[in-house]
Point group: C3
Chain length 144, copies 3
Amino acid sequence: MWAQRELSLTGRPRGFHLVSEEVADGLPELDRLEIGLLHVFMRHTSASLTLNENAATAVLHDFRSWFDAAVPEDAPYWTHRSEGPDDMPAHIKTSLLGSSVTLPVAQGRLALGTWQGIYLCEHREQGGPRTLLVTAWGEERRGG
Amino acid sequence: MWAQRELSLTGRPRGFHLVSEEVADGLPELDRLEIGLLHVFMRHTSASLTLNENAATAVLHDFRSWFDAAVPEDAPYWTHRSEGPDDMPAHIKTSLLGSSVTLPVAQGRLALGTWQGIYLCEHREQGGPRTLLVTAWGEERRGG
Amino acid sequence: MWAQRELSLTGRPRGFHLVSEEVADGLPELDRLEIGLLHVFMRHTSASLTLNENAATAVLHDFRSWFDAAVPEDAPYWTHRSEGPDDMPAHIKTSLLGSSVTLPVAQGRLALGTWQGIYLCEHREQGGPRTLLVTAWGEERRGG
């Protein structure tokens, strides 16, 4: 079984945001998989996806702090400055975290660990809505 | 063909550890794939997986040194401190390296490069046993 | 439908290089997929793959600057020095960026965002040719 859909996530402020439910709800065909995978793909180069702690909002806050310190806007070596000071750091952060996550599916549900959630990592000040392309595939559940 | 299993890796000390054989041995169904893939998924948010050099143990040691320097425990910006000084850095390191690796399978074996091995990246002092969910799928080999 | 091929990329200088066309042209079977995925896998531990901006060459340049600053060759903590000063940083950069990208396929084409391209990230001075193993799978298109 294969299913593929485009999902649009509303614009978020710069930072890290939990979107697990939005993603899972966006592809109801997940229900039909006995064993499978879900590929969640970000179609942009200044926002990314990762998995991390889904409970403490302080974790989301600290992600922003570390990434802003590690990839400074005022580094002397940036030459690509035409799209604003947050643009080139956004590209680097995107590649550090990655443009997709691939998640196991078991018995119709995402088989994440208890504390894992999907983060939308918005690296621009005004990133606007973001488009995901989500693809699920696997063995179908037997009726009953 | 689809196969999915949970594997438990015994607790390791903080640092980087080669687990290629444990992972490959954990899913004997790999043998049956002519062309396929193996998805290895870590169900935790303070340990991660990556591929890197499988020969020199100095490389594993230097991975720890770089990550500890790049994500310092005593950074002034951490606000999530309730689970210990190694906790928030462990979350960042997990997302930098990623929660899964997807590996090609050819003729019943992982088709890694000569020098590639799977690293378990344990970012906590007392991480304890770690659970992987491994999923293999692909075209079955013809009998003979 | 499954297809798997080894692709050899000619040696590039240290730095970041767009290889989207070479990769897509290397697996003509992509044409036949209605919905599917493409897994592009680097069989080395000192070169990696990522997705990022495909338009401005200044972005490729700035990627090199950031990674060279973040993973310095002269850090005091390196113990694995036998293969040259660019070797251990190359391993770290490889794991930060990752050894593979998984890309959605729709109607016979890679379904990337407008600005997304595949980067070959060459972290060695003399990396030489690099081998990729590319695997595509999915639902076949109906004739017409």
